[in-house]
């Protein structure tokens, strides 16, 4: 069993939002440099690199090592989509505890907004799926884009449990409320239910406010042993436990789109960390779409399956709510960096870095999730103020 011997000692993100001319690698390097500086470490302290870049980049860890002059005892790029960034912290913790590395840099960088603006790219991307299999089984039926995949889950959840469009709206409104207090967030204007419901329709039940943002940014964290962490500038954020689960048979199989892999991943994480949902002070959940927050709130046991809509409508996600969630604004309102900013926000909340208006009071335990890889891979971190 994992001995809880790893801690996050540095966390940072790059410039965030619309960064014309940026590259995923350049932003990743910026975030990495900032995270190592935040940790009070120097480049030669880093002997592990676990990262992920844009899906069409091969061996991103090698590109980053070349750029930053790093060799590594332990290194890989990950291929679990949005679940990769929390998985990076899991792998780093295991490698450190096993003695394979001492100090591991984890991160993810993307330039999604810039790519969208590059001539020709938008049309090319919209008209054809990246993978041969999706081209064969999706494109022929006019099934394009990620919103539809999650919308299919939302519609099923609505049919089974009476979840409504307004319930999804309360997710968007709640995280936007958090973003109004985040000066880095891409969206800082409060969102009303009227505005939410009038949002440009995308694919039922989603409109534009159900979908996460296009963002240029990178995030990075530095993981090292708890022993070493005690000599560094910040309060250590202990990696207390973690879990993962992967419904590799697919999103459309069994009930995966309604009870997601977060359920089993969370159960493993609670067991390894020896905590319960009631112990968690704040959740930083992978919110590619509003529905994924609702499903995870249920799957992680913050309320019963099917009750998520009413739970969230009652203010559960607010700073003074039952489970303050995505307190940076998340991917729906701060910026979409494939879950990496959720890790950074979890660390910052546990360090008590924020002014009172944005700080989860006395936050001691944070749950951070990652979800992706055709929506079937899920990872969970349970972080603790050291």
């Amino acid at each position: 069993m994992y001995q809880r011997s790893a801690a996050i000692v540095g966390a940072a993100h790059s410039e965030l939002g619309e960064v014309p001319g940026s590259t995923g690698l350049g932003l990743m390097a910026d975030a990495a440099v900032a995270a190592v500086a935040d940790a009070g470490l120097k480049p030669s302290d880093i002997d592990g690199v676990v990262v992920r870049g844009p899906d069409d980049e091969y061996a991103f860890q090698q590109q980053l090592g070349e750029r930053l002059g790093l060799n590594a005892a332990f290194s890989t790029s990950l291929d679990n989509g949005g679940a990769s960034q929390t998985l990076a912290v899991i792998l780093a913790s295991l490698a450190i505890e096993a003695g394979l590395a001492t100090t591991v840099l984890c991160g993810y960088g993307r330039n999604s907004w810039t790519r969208t603006r590059q001539a020709g790219s938008r049309r090319a991307r919209m008209n054809q799926s990246t993978h041969n299999r999706a081209r064969e089984w999706r494109d022929s039926f006019g099934y394009f884009g990620e919103p539809a995949t999650h919308a299919l889950g939302a519609q099923r959840h609505m049919a089974m449990y009476g979840t409504t469009k307004e319930h999804l709206g309360h997710v968007a409104i709640s995280v936007r409320e958090h973003a109004t207090r985040n000066p880095h967030a891409q969206m800082q204007t409060p969102l009303t239910m009227e505005e939410y419901l009038a949002g440009r329709p995308v694919t039922d039940p989603f409109g534009v406010y159900d979908c996460s943002l296009r963002t240029d940014a990178a995030g990075a964290v530095v993981v090292t042993s708890l022993d070493r962490a005690r000599d560094l500038p910040h309060t250590p954020v202990v990696v207390r436990g973690f879990g993962s689960h992967n419904n590799l048979q697919g999103w459309t199989v069994d009930d995966h789109m309604v009870t997601t892999a977060a359920k089993q991943s969370g159960e493993r994480a609670y067991r390894i960390a020896d905590v319960t949902p009631a112990d968690i002070d704040t959740a930083q959940l992978y919110d590619c779409f509003t529905y994924m927050v609702l499903a995870q709130i249920e799957d992680y046991g913050f309320c019963e399956k099917g009750d998520g809509g009413e739970f969230i409508a009652g203010g559960a996600l607010a700073l003074d709510g039952a489970i303050p969630t995505n307190t940076s604004g998340g991917q729906l309102s701060e910026g979409h960096v494939e879950g990496m900013l959720q890790v950074v926000e979890g660390v910052r909340q546990l360090r008590h870095e924020y002014p009172e208006e944005r700080q989860v009071p006395d936050a001691r335990l944070a749950l951070v999730s990652g979800h992706g890889g055709n929506t079937v891979c899920h990872t969970t971190l349970i972080l603790e103020r050291g």
Binding site: R123, M126, N127, N132, R133, R135, E136, W137, R138, D139, S140, F141, G142, Y143, F144, G145, A148, A151, L152, G153, Q155, R156, A159, M160, R200, P201, V202, T203, D204, P205, Q249, T252, V253, M257
Partner: protein
């Protein structure tokens, strides 16, 4: 099997021919002759989809393309309100659905032949085929008329 639907039928997206692989070619060949076929395991008699060289359930390599009923129900669906390609703009709104066949497998498909606002989870549906190019047809499903 059902007769081909007229291409003027509304609420169906512009549909482009798939790019089959050697493994999936028999599925599309079946569609071309307006027959829905799915691989069935000779050992455990269960169905596997998408196309494969091994039974998903018992790993036998004895999987045989078998005609299925073409009957099923809407497992879930979404109505496209936004065009992801310029050519689809005049096709909106259209319905992408997951249909669970009576035999078990779930297919990504289009729900056609009714207003998108009438589609429901659990709605019984039957397969129809759409000839989209010479020798190429795609499946879709429409509400069952009892």
């Amino acid at each position: 099997m059902s007769a081909p639907q007229p291409t003027t039928e509304p609420m169906r997206p512009r549909r482009v021919p798939p790019q089959p692989t050697p493994e999936s070619q028999p599925f599309w060949d079946g569609c071309a002759r307006h027959e829905l076929v799915v691989q069935r395991c000779s050992s455990c008699e269960r169905f596997s989809f998408p196309p494969t060289n091994r039974c998903q359930h018992c790993w036998s390599d004895d999987v045989v393309w078998t005609p299925v009923s073409g009957r099923g129900e809407v497992f879930t669906f979404t109505v496209y309100r936004r065009a992801y390609a310029a050519e689809l703009a005049d096709q909106l709104p259209y319905v992408v659905g997951i249909v669970e066949l009576d035999e078990g497998p779930r297919l990504i498909t289009n729900i056609v032949g009714c207003e998108p606002s009438r589609v429901r989870v659990g709605m019984p549906v039957d397969v129809v085929f759409d000839d989209v190019a010479d020798g190429v047809a795609l499946h879709a499903f429409r509400p069952r008329e009892e």
